[in-house]
């Protein structure tokens, strides 16, 4: 399987900065290159402000990159004009974090799921649209009889299902899931995660799964990319990374998760000190050095590049 | 902080320029032949010629505008042709009366409005709340002239409590100030209530209560400081509506103020006087808003540090 991996989306030296004022900018994504392979689920993990959401949005051109290139299959979509890009747009869809804010409160379930179909004029008639919407509702498990209901009548989990139906309506190749379960209750969270996995299998989708929750990522993804302050720390197969994290930040991140087993709590944990630095004025050298207990002078001066260590890519001078 | 205030001052200057341009266009360009409009059909040739020269009406548009700008920057608003006095002189004679009236009205309105609003918010859905809010809606809905005339008729004519023949000393300002402040009191009360009710729902109010603070302390130290911010904005906006209302109040109570000058200027078609009074009041409004903005910046640390 490893041999026949085909690249679906690829970015090279992608940079995204949001200007704060004339002099300063938020360095949300700094010089990131990565590939997303067809059929996989790549997870972007990191704490708030690490740029994972921005990276996802920049990859599908919701934000215009400050510099760098994005290729979809082999077409450079970052250089395209809007008209030219339109046909690629339908290949990339998105599922959002907040199921309460991502559905227009004034539209019925039918209109919400039909919006991408109507926009890209895939169906000939209104009846065809409705038929397709019903089909999608079946697929995500929203009962058909709620076709003409409004979103506020549904619970968070149901809304998220509607959001998923909307995202897969056009049979896209790539779906960006931006924290799709973090706003949901524990018991509903696992339902939606199962659904996402089913949908991926049934529709042959590729996921870019953005999350701060390492457990969720563990379940859903094949590959993990750990980010810190706009940079990749570590990227590789989930199995490899979860079994043996190499980058100090990844280690601390995994260590910090409260484990639901009271027998493990007496183990003394080493915790990260300090706060996350501001992305407006990121530290020089390795961006993690201000929090890293192992930081050396080299870390403070020189930015580490990604290199192959133990079957995955790591950006750290010390490993 | 200085930077944001500086930016605001710059914006104000742009607005001031546009305001003077707008007044210029409205009063000099559109009415066609300004002089005939002003003098009616009975003007003699000589006067027309003199006025044309005086107002640069024979020059092209931009020259007119330039000299007009130069004039208003040096405080020279020309002279009123009906009253035969410099406009500046007329305004500076009338201005203290308007200020007195507006300040009186504002004091009455804001104190009463805020007190009622606070009580209504604290006793939300109680009898006092309903009573005050009913009254404030009445306050917002009654036209200024109706309050003025009712007061004049009842208090002045029927009860003879105050002299209504004219304004001789500060007591003469009481009725006009009440009439003028009535509306503002209503809207301040309503806004104070609604923001306070909202602020009282905030998490930090729970925090303050959890600390063990009493209701009064929670209200004074935490709720009001936050609720006052929009109210201050509203007060600044009311400078404008108070000056609008002053036009009517001054007319009814025969107070020699800027508003009445403006009405006189319109009825007698006195362009220099109208232009002077309108520009003057507008500048007051703009400066008032600027001060309120600066005050807001000082009171709200989130804006102060430019977050």
């Amino acid at each position: 399987m490893r041999e026949e991996k085909k690249v679906l989306l690829r970015c090279e030296h992608l940079v995204k900065e949001f200007p704060v004022d004339r002099k300063r900018a938020v360095h949300a994504v700094s010089d990131i290159s990565l590939e997303i392979y067809e059929g996989e689920c790549l997870a972007l993990v990191g704490e708030s402000g690490c740029g994972k959401s921005t990276l996802g949005r920049t990859l599908i051109q919701l934000h215009e990159p400050t510099s760098g290139k994005v290729f979809f299959r082999d077409a450079e979509i970052s250089a395209m004009k809007p008209a030219q890009f339109a046909q690629y747009r339908r290949q990339m869809q998105m599922i959002f974090q907040d199921p309460y804010a991502s559905l227009d409160p004034r539209m019925t379930v039918r209109d919400i799921i039909a919006e991408p179909l109507v926009t890209h004029k895939v169906c000939e008639s209104k009846e065809a649209v409705t038929a397709r919407v019903l089909e999608l509702m079946d697929a995500v498990g929203v009962p058909r009889e709620f076709l003409y209901r409004y979103p506020h009548q549904f619970s968070g989990g149901q809304r998220q299902r509607i959001g998923i139906a909307r995202a897969v309506a056009l049979n896209p190749s790539l779906v960006i899931c931006d924290e799709p379960v973090s706003a949901l209750d524990v018991s509903v969270q696992s339902q939606v995660l199962n659904l996402l996995k089913d949908i991926q299998a049934n529709y042959g989708l590729t996921y870019l799964f953005i999350s701060h929750d390492l457990s969720v990522v563990r379940f859903i993804s094949n590959r993990v990319c750990v980010m810190f302050l706009g940079k990749i720390c570590e990227i590789g197969d989930s199995e490899t990374i979860y079994r043996d994290p190499v980058h100090p930040y990844t280690k601390f991140l995994m260590n910090a998760i409260p484990i639901a087993n009271p027998h493990l709590r007496e183990q003394e944990k080493t915790l990260l000190e300090g706060e996350i630095p501001s992305p407006i004025d990121p530290p020089k050298g390795c961006r993690f050095h201000t929090r890293c207990p192992y930081a050396t002078d080299r870390c403070r001066a020189e930015e580490p590049a990604l290199r192959e260590v133990k079957g995955r890519q790591v950006a750290c001078h010390l490993v | 902080m200085l930077k944001s205030i500086g930016k605001r001052v710059l914006q104000t200057l742009v607005v001031l320029f546009c305001v003077s341009l707008l007044i210029f266009i409205l009063l000099r360009i559109i009415p066609g032949d300004a002089i005939t409009t002003m003098m009616g059909e009975h003007a003699n040739a000589e006067t027309i010629e003199r006025l044309t020269k005086e107002m640069n009406l024979d020059k092209p548009f931009y020259v007119q505008f330039a000299s007009y700008l130069r004039d208003i920057c040096t405080g020279n608003f020309g002279s009123s042709y009906t009253l035969n006095k410099p406009v500046t002189e007329l305004i500076s004679a009338a201005f203290p009366n308007t200020v007195m009236l507006a300040v009186f009205a504002a004091l009455i309105a804001w104190v009463i409005g805020m007190v009622c609003g606070i009580i209504a918010a604290v006793r939300k859905d109680g009898i006092l709340d309903r009573l005050f809010m009913g009254f404030s809606l009445l306050g917002v809905s009654i036209p200024v002239f109706m309050v003025a005339m009712l007061l004049q008729y009842l208090v002045g004519y029927r009860l003879h409590w105050v002299d209504i023949s004219g304004v001789k000393n500060w007591t003469g300002f009481i009725l006009p100030a009440i009439a003028l402040g009535w509306n503002s009191a209503g809207s301040i009360a309503r806004l104070t209530r609604s923001t306070l009710v909202e602020v009282l729902q905030e998490d930090y109010i729970d925090t303050a209560k959890a600390k063990g603070l009493g209701q009064g302390a929670v209200l004074l130290l935490h709720a009001l400081r936050n609720a006052m911010l929009p109210v201050i904005t509203m007060m600044a906006l009311q400078i404008s509506s108070l000056l609008s209302g002053a036009v009517i109040t001054e007319t009814i109570f025969s107070i020699n103020g800027v508003g009445r000058l403006a009405v006189d200027a319109i009825t007698s078609r006195d362009i220099p006087l109208l232009q002077g009074t309108v520009l003057f009041t507008t500048v007051i409004v703009i400066v008032g808003n600027l001060i309120a903005d600066c005050l807001y910046t000082v009171l709200d640390p989130r804006i102060r540090k430019g977050a």
Partner: protein
């Protein structure tokens, strides 16, 4: 269409059965526009009453000729300044004209002045506000400075100057009020648009490739409508008040036409011997304005609790 049968789907079905049951219970309490209106009707009797009052005023204005035996400028010189009586329910004015009749006819002008300029100012305000909020940048700056300029004037003075420029007459009043009132509408719509533009469902639409114009009409405008309804009900009375102020100062509606403001103005001379002449039309203005404000308040409570100080 990839749709192979999946054993995993089955346990999904059982989940669904439970969910459907819970959903059905939940759907009982929807909250659509109709529900909100019903809530308004059941909870806020004052707002309902105000609505009825407004309808009555409109009907009275429309059917004025049917409701009164007099003509609106019919003079009865024998009965000048007559106090209210059976013959003249609200008395007569200085020329012996029936006050009630003039009030009914005046309602036509006052209500028209309330509605027509408000419609125009709302149109201008909505378009400019939405463009300003959605496009941003230079366009936004220009439109907002323009609004600042208009809002810098005490509104009555600006209206007066415009009336001076355009000359007297009812059309001038419409224009003057439309010009003075659009700016505050534009500000509200702009801030609404700004916050709507940042919502995830607008972002979702953009991620699907929906065009900007479609987003504005499909997502932003419909979500502004509750605020616009409230804004409209609150702007009508303020326009009525402005017109009456202008007419009161003698720079609005001119004789022989009549509006409530003008009636107040004409009656002011006789304030001490015939107070009803100015107080009756004042009270009419107050009633209509109050009714609109109560209705607007009620609507705001159910439709749009966050819209304040418009």
């Amino acid at each position: 269409m990839p749709k192979k049968s999946n054993p995993l789907q089955d346990d999904f079905r059982t989940e669904m059965a439970a969910e459907r049951e819970a959903l059905a219970a939940q759907l009982g309490e929807s909250d659509t526009f109709g529900d909100k209106m019903r809530r308004l009707a059941s909870d806020n009797k004052l707002a309902v009453f105000s609505g009825i009052l407004i309808v009555i005023f409109i009907l009275m204005a429309v059917f004025a000729p049917l409701l009164t035996p007099y003509d609106f400028d019919e003079m009865d010189l024998m009965a000048r300044l007559a106090p209210p009586s059976a013959k003249h329910l609200l008395g007569t004015d200085e020329l012996g004209r029936d006050v009630l009749t003039r009030l009914l006819y005046g309602a036509r002008v006052s209500l028209a002045v309330g509605v027509i300029p408000t419609v125009f100012s709302m149109l201008i305000g909505v378009v400019l506000g939405m463009v300003s909020g959605y496009v941003g940048g230079m366009t936004d700056a220009v439109i907002m400075r323009l609004a600042d300029v208009v809002l810098s004037f005490p509104s009555l003075l600006l209206a007066m100057v415009i009336m001076y420029t355009l000359g007297d007459g009812i059309t001038s009043i419409f224009i003057a009020l439309a010009i003075t009132n659009w700016a505050s509408v534009a500000r509200v719509v702009r801030s609404e648009t700004l916050s709507l533009r940042e919502t995830e469902y607008v972002e979702a639409a953009r991620s699907m490739g929906v065009k900007d114009m479609v987003i504005i009409f499909r997502h932003i405008l419909p979500n502004c409508i509750p605020s616009l309804i409230v804004l409209f009900t609150l702007n009508v009375p303020s326009a009525i008040l402005s017109e009456s102020s202008l007419s009161f100062l003698g720079i609005g509606v001119q004789l022989p036409k009549s509006s409530w403001g003008l009636m107040v103005n004409m009656g002011r001379t006789y304030l001490y011997n015939a107070p009803w002449l100015s107080l009756v039309p004042s009270a009419a203005i107050m009633l209509v304005v109050l009714a609109f404000n109560f209705l607007g308040d009620g609507l705001r409570d159910v439709l749009d609790p966050h819209l304040k100080n418009s």
